[in-house]
């Protein structure tokens, strides 16, 4: 195979693998910028994937599937909010609980409803988000260099992919150019100041976790009814934690979040591509090296060896009004 063809194919699978990470990491961004740690991203993604697949299967509509995914994920966000904002419980514990609950309930309900070992039935094309062929993609295919890039990487993705890339500047705009965004960032740094200004800390934080829920809903829906054609048990497979790693890697900023997700998606794509192939001078690189790399990079970054990642100051601390 031509080197450029390899490059194109790795690039297009990079995009495919990055999309759920981008949505999920942006979700984490909203939540953590408001001072609520969210280990439960993994569970929300998995839960919304299951809900999306179930409803898409029943109604044969991808959009209703998306709606169900978002509703499920927002509901889980509200549970997380109730525990960590209203009851001032431990945010980490609450997130861990959501992950366990979802990992179990998706399989229990899936088996009880469909009897296929925890997976949902195969979806019809109507129930999925189909690839969108951009105008001129076929005509452009023969243009050197640019043609394959346009036809195979830029065109031919489903609508959620394009939405993910739109969600990045949109999140930036919300966080940095709106009053809500300013207050949201403030409540993650110094909730006392926000409270003094007469703004409800609890309501702001609830809205932040709901934003996170909506974005996680997109991520789960993408997994189940855009990338695949069914819910498969444990299909999020640690992506929620990778998204968390990407969030740290991007130092809690929207545009770097996108690049961090693309980097981790690229490592994943590369690992799939390199499996069983020889590298000159080194020999076969074990696939586990690529699998562990995002986690290792994140730890190195957290240790401050490649720049300092400072999390929002009030992250993880429940807010108590002094009396």
């Amino acid at each position: 195979m031509d080197y450029y063809d390899i490059f194109i194919s790795v690039l297009s699978s990079t995009i495919r693998l990055s999309i759920p990470l981008i949505f999920t990491a942006l979700a984490g961004l909203f939540s953590e910028r408001a001072g609520i740690f969210d280990i439960g991203l993994e569970g929300k993604m998995l839960g919304s994937a299951f809900a999306a697949a179930c409803i898409a299967y029943l109604t044969d509509s991808a959009w209703l599937g998306l709606g169900a995914g978002i509703v499920c994920s927002v509901a889980l966000s509200l549970v997380h909010g109730f525990a960590s904002i209203t009851n001032r419980g431990n945010q980490i514990v609450s997130g861990v609980a959501i992950n366990f609950f979802i990992a179990g309930i998706t399989i229990v309900l899936g088996q009880a409803w469909f009897g296929q070992g925890g997976r949902t039935p195969q979806l019809s094309p109507d129930a999925r988000f189909a690839p969108i062929i951009l105008p001129g993609a076929d005509a452009a295919r023969d243009i050197p260099i640019f043609g394959p890039l346009y036809a195979n990487v830029i065109s031919g993705n489903n609508i959620l992919t394009y939405l993910a890339f739109l969600a990045v500047p949109f999140s930036w705009w919300v966080l940095y150019r709106t009053r809500f965004g300013l207050r949201l960032r403030a409540v993650g740094e110094n909730p006392g100041a926000v409270d003094t200004a007469g703004i409800s800390v609890a309501w702001l934080r609830y809205r932040a976790v709901m934003c996170a829920g909506i974005l996680c809903g997109f991520a789960g829906t993408y997994l189940a009814i855009a990338q695949s054609a069914a819910f498969i048990k444990d299909m999020s497979a640690g992506k929620g934690y990778i998204a968390l790693a990407a969030l740290v890697f991007a130092k809690w900023k929207p545009v770097p979040v996108m690049f961090a997700c693309l980097l981790f998606g690229f490592l994943d794509a590369l690992a799939n591509f390199m499996q069983g192939k020889q590298v000159p001078l080194i020999g076969e690189v074990p696939v586990q090296v690529f699998q562990a790399l995002p986690y290792i990079l994140t730890c190195v970054l957290l240790a401050g060896f490649i720049g300092v990642a400072t999390p929002p100051k009030a992250g993880g601390v429940p807010y108590t009004k002094e009396r």
Binding site: N87, I92, V96, I98, L109, A303
Partner: protein, 367 residues
Amino acid sequence: MSTASVPLPHWINYGLIPLLNLVVAFLISGFVVWLIGESPLDALSLLLEGALGNGEGIGFTLYYATSFIFTGLSVAVAIHAGLFNIGSEGQAYVGGLGCALVALALDRYVPWYVTMPIAVIGAGLFGAAWAFIPAFLQAKRGSHIVITTIMFNYIAAALMVYLLVHVLIVPGKMAPETRTFLEGGQLPKLGWLMTTFGAKLGAAPFNVSFIIALLAAWFVWVLIWRTKLGFEMRTLGVSRTAADYAGIPYARTVIVAMLLSGALAGMMALNPVMGSSARLQVEFVGGAGFVGIAVSLMGRNHPLGIIMAAILFGILYQGGDWVSFEMPNITREMILVIQGLVILFAGALEYMFRPAMVRLYQQFKRG
């Protein structure tokens, strides 16, 4: 006056409220069972029958409980020092490497009672080593221990799969596992203990590591409540500023607490690796590290509570297997649902019922 600061007697704080949380978690689980068209009461009686109905069931229950005691203690020791160690899973996994290497090296030369103490040390050292890096990063570089320990779980998984597939695998075999240990690398079953209670162990892998787990629990109790180090850890856990003011070195206390936590998690590997399968396999930990979080939360981080919570989770695991066998509609993963609810209610929503309790208690005292 806020209800949060009203003192309640111990039996409400450590008895009634956790019990209430547990009951709510089980009620919701029962609702899920009802939702999928099975009778919650039938499921419950099957669960108890499978876990406690005969000697073999009890043997399996205690076998699971053994693993959970170790990981529960691991989580608790870290929590006492104010650290949330989500990495027990990875530490137990790497601990398995330590104990397997000892067993592989010694099993043909010496009997099990010589191998065992060395394997305990090996498992503990490897588990502690895996906890050391996150501990060091937390203590010296300010990295958040929750994030780093999660990352280390995944790194451990990748590392162990690599070792089992490429290094430790038996040449010519397909399964990614080490060779089976000879008798000198296997822990004996506790059949005699069951016989004294008039029950038969059967095929259950209940083994000597249960006794090590009980000793570890006693050790943790002494450490936390009877030593200077334990006092320093608890002080740090309550308030870092107070600890600094009292001259308790932060970095040292964090690292020592995490080393102990990792060592306890690592020792968990003795139970499945040397006590049951007699070889190191992929994913042998099977989530026991995460169960440790629930166990520790439910046992209120006290060794005695942890032993009881571990046995409860042992009942859930063994009984859950039995239920899924008898009621094919309810899969094994129902355990994860219950576990998630227990963590949610006993951990994150710990104080949900407290205001109501305070009101009831005050009314009761007045009346």
